[in-house]
Amino acid sequence: MAEYTSEDNKLTLKVVFYGPALSGKTTNLMQLHSLLNPERKGELMVLETRDDRTLFFDMLPIGLKSDSGLDLRLKLYTVPGQVQHDSTRKAVLSRADGVVFVADSQPSQQDNNANAFGNLEENLEKVGLDIDTLPLVVQFNKRDITGVVDETVLQTRWSATPWSPLIMASALRGQGVIETFRTLLDRLYTEINDEFELVSRHGIDRDRFITRLSTSHEVNRA
């Protein structure tokens, strides 16, 4: 749930990377940390890993300041994917403004994807969020691996859902990560613009919102 405090003119938004264990959520966040060059970028906090696995969550804050002085913060979280950390997932998911679902493209992981998505639906309901209105992007990661499920198969399977088209990514190689993030920002903007008068009061239109939060080093170089 977006939080606006008027005394310091600060708007904080929360995006959660959700998905089965080891699908590449942390890798997505690490890539965003190194690829993105937004106006403001904090440290990537990795909390803390045991056997390389997320125990609590990871968090990366980014932000921008508008001409009107709006201090807009975006906190990006990952959740631990393992089944036993459900209460942590719920706590992190609560009051989310957007969700990136990171699925694993390998055929052996399709059941895990489905279970994790079911778990997302369930937990959204428990924390009082509506999956139909919540900005949500589905990413199929690890496209670099050979033998992954064919993209057309995946796209067809999801075509009837509100989350089509899916975004294909290889977080390890930094491909599709920013695209995923931008798609999420796009949907997020639609949801929050009216409520927080982003364009009317703070002069942040959709394009500015997306580009200023997701400028990448490549773009700068180009």
Binding site: R40, E43, M45, F56, M59, A91
Partner: protein, 381 residues
């Protein structure tokens, strides 16, 4: 309550002692002392942590020194904040889990209570069923007892029928012989007295035998042992037999008015109908006995009328009546206002069941202290 993800303030991150120690150590490193405060001082630089200004660092020998010191503090704060975040999240989830546990516990308690209530209801239902079974059993027992009493009566009647027949006819012949004897014996005073007395004795015996024969005949009608199943019944005849038996029972002391119309025969079970009519008459007689005398003389009115292929029977008394409170139970098997053990109580139940079996209706109007009227309607053939 602050959520685990709320941006931490300087207070959240460091205790005053820790802050003091940090100031001390930094001052020792710098060429001039530095202090970190939650609020902005003149020459202060912001100590930032995750885009958030958590405090202000002032003092030092130069802006460069301040800047470096501030960066060092930011670097340290990240690890402190990490721990805080993890600890707060842990606290939040533990609390949520505990709340969930409590909720489940409540739900469990509620469902346990529900089951307990259910099992209570179940027990009550079982008790009710047991009571129904007990009553049915008792009814069965009572009705079979009544039936065997009926059988016995019919058997006795049958056995008495023959001897009483020849006793009657013999007595008639004996009286004729007596008249013959009168001509043969010398007409002395003593002989005449003897013969007159003898004549009277035989006359009384003839009357007695007639009465026995009539009772036997009533008993036979009443128990109808010969009729196993439904036949055409003359309700008036059944009523008169029952009334005669009742009068015998009550030493011919009852005032029973019969107003029996010419009614068609109906199809029915004479034995059961007789039993029912007798029960109703017996109830009426009891009601008269229990009535206070200010009602005047106790009377029973028995009335039959024919109506549209139906037969109406009314048995009415001006006896004690039924109290309002008991009205609804009068058809309960064993409901009785009479002393327990007098063998009554089934009368109305039997009557109702019999009437129902005959597809008829039974209705009771009663007022305490005024009397009772039982109206039966039985369908014709």
């Amino acid at each position: 309550m602050r959520s685990f993800e709320d941006d931490p303030t300087l207070d959240d991150l460091l205790t005053p002692e820790q802050l003091q120690r940090l100031n001390h150590a930094l001052s020792a490193l710098c060429r001039k002392p530095v202090t970190i405060t939650p609020h902005r001082q003149d020459d202060a630089v912001a100590v930032e942590f995750n885009l958030e200004t958590v405090g202000w660092l002032s003092g030092g020998a130069s802006p460069g020194e301040r800047q470096v010191a501030s960066e060092l503090v930011s670097f340290l704060m990240m690890f402190v904040a990490k721990y805080r975040l993890a600890a707060n999240l842990h606290h939040d989830t533990t609390e949520a889990s505990y709340a969930e546990l409590q909720r489940q516990n409540e739900a469990l308690k509620a469902s346990e209570a529900r089951y307990r209530e259910l099992s209570g209801q179940l027990q009550q239902r079982v008790d009710e069923q047991v009571e129904v079974i007990r009553q049915t059993q008792q009814e069965l027992y009572e009705s079979s007892r009544l039936r065997s009493v009926g059988h016995l009566a019919a058997g006795v009647a049958h056995e008495i029928n023959n001897p009483i027949g020849f006793i009657s006819s013999n007595l008639g012949v004996a009286r004729d012989y007596l008249d013959d004897l009168r001509g043969l014996l010398p007409g002395t005073e003593a002989n005449r007295e003897l013969l007159d007395d003898f004549h009277d004795l035989i006359g009384e015996s003839v009357d007695g035998a007639k009465r026995i024969a009539s009772i036997v005949s009533d008993l036979k009608t009443f128990s109808s042992i010969d009729q196993a199943d439904y036949t055409l019944c003359d309700v008036n005849k059944l009523l008169t037999s029952a009334i005669h038996l009742l009068q015998t029972e009550y030493g011919h002391q009852l005032h029973i008015t019969e107003r029996l119309d010419d009614i068609p025969k109906i199809s029915g079970h004479p034995g059961r109908l007789s039993q029912s009519l007798y029960n109703l008459l017996d109830n009426a007689a009891h009601a008269l006995r229990d009535a206070k005398s200010e009602n005047g003389q106790g009377r029973i009115l028995v009335k039959t009328t024919a109506r549209d292929n139906e037969v109406d029977i009314v048995i009415q008394d001006n006896g004690c009546g039924i109290p309002d409170a008991n009205r609804s139970q009068v058809f309960d098997a064993f409901y009785t206002t009479r002393p327990v053990g007098s063998g009554a109580g089934l009368g109305l139940t039997v009557a109702r069941d019999t009437v129902r079996a005959h597809r008829g209706t039974i209705k009771i109007d009663s007022r305490e202290g005024t009397g009772t009227r039982v109206s039966l309607t039985l369908p014709g053939t």
